[in-house]
């Protein structure tokens, strides 16, 4: 996957988890949880979807890496590059 495809994938997962939110103006460099209503259980849904769809394990210590879209792409790129 390219970085663009990874970002697209993350956005699709988020859209499924918080279907009432408008994600079209989501800024890449601001924490996602500051921009839309996404609580800790929703965040765990993102982790679960990455596990189920792509077999990616995100250890708890790394959750912070998924704060913004930019940091998520940077963190996931080495793990999703070959997908």
């Amino acid at each position: 996957m390219t970085k663009e495809q990874i970002k697209d994938t993350i956005l699709k997962i988020i859209a499924q988890i918080i279907p009432d939110e408008d994600l079209s103006n989501l800024k890449d460099d601001i924490p996602i949880r500051e921009q839309v209503e996404l609580d800790s259980m929703d965040f765990l849904d993102i982790i679960m979807e990455l596990r189920k769809r792509y077999g990616i394990e995100v250890p708890e210590d790394d959750y912070i890496q998924l704060a913004t879209l930019d940091s998520s792409v940077a963190y996931l790129e080495p793990r999703m590059r070959e997908l």
Binding site: I17, I18, P19, D20, M41, D42, L44, D45, M48, R51, K52
Partner: protein, 416 residues
């Protein structure tokens, strides 16, 4: 007659919210009960294939966001819809409500089976690796879930819990609300019952294994209480929540009063897991009548529990004959013949369907009764067509459940 009670000790129904396989509010439900319109359909469920079921068609997005639907349970969603509709029907201003003095008391037959089945199905795709088990599982399956979802949706901060009482659940939710009002624990009770049973293959499979799952080429004719050709239960989902208030409060705010709950009783067979006991059903009906201080001859309508099973229906008929045999005045009907067995909702939903009789003096019928089983003779059973009657002052509602739990509720035409 019993001594007259103070208005603070009289509990009345001032709002009704419901969803049934043949109606999403009381007016629609009643219209279909009088028109003989069933709500049973063909339905596909995991592992079982095609079954017959009663599915509700309310719009869950009327009161919930998509995310709430994804996160919560079907029972929670049914409960939220019914609670919101009941509050609107009672013309209560949600913002003006003292939410710390409002309680939510919902009867359930079961809860958690649907969600557990779904999770096991999900992890099966991952070779049963439990790291794929959802973090939403526990809040979904805790037994208070349907009532708790109502409090989250409505911002209610008073007590909430469910009452597990098998198929007597709906009546028992109602009784609990009444008791909490009498104890002055709350000022408003959202009471009734809900069921999401049609989302659980295990419930269908369980009845099938018992030899008690109804089948018929025409889904709408499958639920046939008291008919010679009945062959079991039609599993349905549904919900019904009443707004209950002390009469003094209801009068103060000029509320529309559907009826007064004047009597109730709950007892246990202590005999069998499944098979009912006529002796204890008799006792339960008599306990409720004694609580009101009236004789069986004062009851005008009896809404039977009859589920359409070979074994269960004759037992209730025997019990009714024993209590009402010398007083052949009451008319009898059955609501499951239309909507199937809505499990935890049944007691409340079936009572709701009969409340309009206080106004229109019509008894809705029992449908699908082509050949009355000689084992089920009953006086004044209203068969296939509604019946206009002269007097409706008292309605008695039977609801019985597995493990031998019996419940009876008696409501009275409201008079100051």
């Amino acid at each position: 007659m019993a001594a007259r009670k103070a208005n603070e000790a009289r509990i009345v129904i001032t709002g009704v919210g419901l969803t049934a396989p043949n109606g999403n509010n009381l007016a629609e439900f009643r219209k279909n009960l009088l028109a003989g319109k069933s709500g049973i359909q063909k339905f596909k469920i995991r592992y079982m294939g095609e079954v017959l079921a009663g599915i509700c068609h309310f719009d869950p997005l009327k009161y919930q966001k998509k995310k709430e639907l994804r996160r919560g349970t079907r029972a929670g969603s049914i409960a939220i819809y019914c609670a919101q509709e009941a509050i609107a029907d009672a013309k209560l201003d949600l913002d003006g409500l003292d939410k710390s003095r409002t309680g939510v008391y919902l009867g359930i037959t079961e809860h958690g089976t649907v969600e557990t089945e779904n999770e096991i199905y999900e992890i099966k795709q991952f070779d049963y690796n439990v790291k794929y088990w959802s973090h939403h599982h526990n809040p979904r399956v805790v037994a208070n879930n349907p009532a708790g979802e109502v409090t989250l949706n409505l911002g209610i901060t008073g007590p909430h819990y469910t009452l597990g009482a098998a198929c007597a659940g709906g009546n028992i939710g109602l009784i609990q609300g009444l008791q909490m009002l009498l104890l002055n624990e709350v000022d408003l009770a959202l009471s009734g019952g809900v069921s999401e049973s049609t989302s659980s293959f295990g419930i269908f499979a369980g009845f099938k294994s018992e030899g008690a799952l109804a089948s018929h080429p025409d889904p709408e004719k499958a639920c046939r209480p008291f008919d010679k050709d009945r062959n079991g239960v039609v599993v349905s989902e549904g919900g019904c929540i009443f707004v209950l208030e002390r009469l003094s409060d209801a009068l103060k705010r000029g509320a529309k009063i559907y009826s007064e709950i004047v009597g109730y009783a709950i007892n246990s067979d202590a005999t069998d897991f499944i098979f009912p006991s006529a002796e204890r059903q008799v006792e339960c009906m008599k306990l409720a009548l004694n609580k009101v201080g009236i004789s069986p001859g004062d009851i005008d309508i009896i809404n039977t529990h009859g589920t359409g099973t070979t074994e269960g229906d004759p037992v209730e008929c025997q019990a009714i004959r024993e209590v009402f045999g010398e007083y052949p005045h009451a008319y009898l009907n059955n609501t499951k013949s239309f909507v199937g067995h809505t499990m935890g909702a049944a007691g409340a939903l079936e009572l709701a369907g009969n409340l309009p009789s206080f106004e229109d003096y019509i008894v809705h019928p029992t449908i699908n009764l082509d050949h009355l089983d000689p084992e089920c003779p009953l006086n004044n059973l209203v068969i296939n067509e509604p019946k206009k009657i002269d007097k409706v002052d008292y309605i008695l509602n039977n609801s019985f459940g597995m493990l031998g739990i019996n419940s009876v509720v008696i409501v009275k035409r409201f008079e100051e």
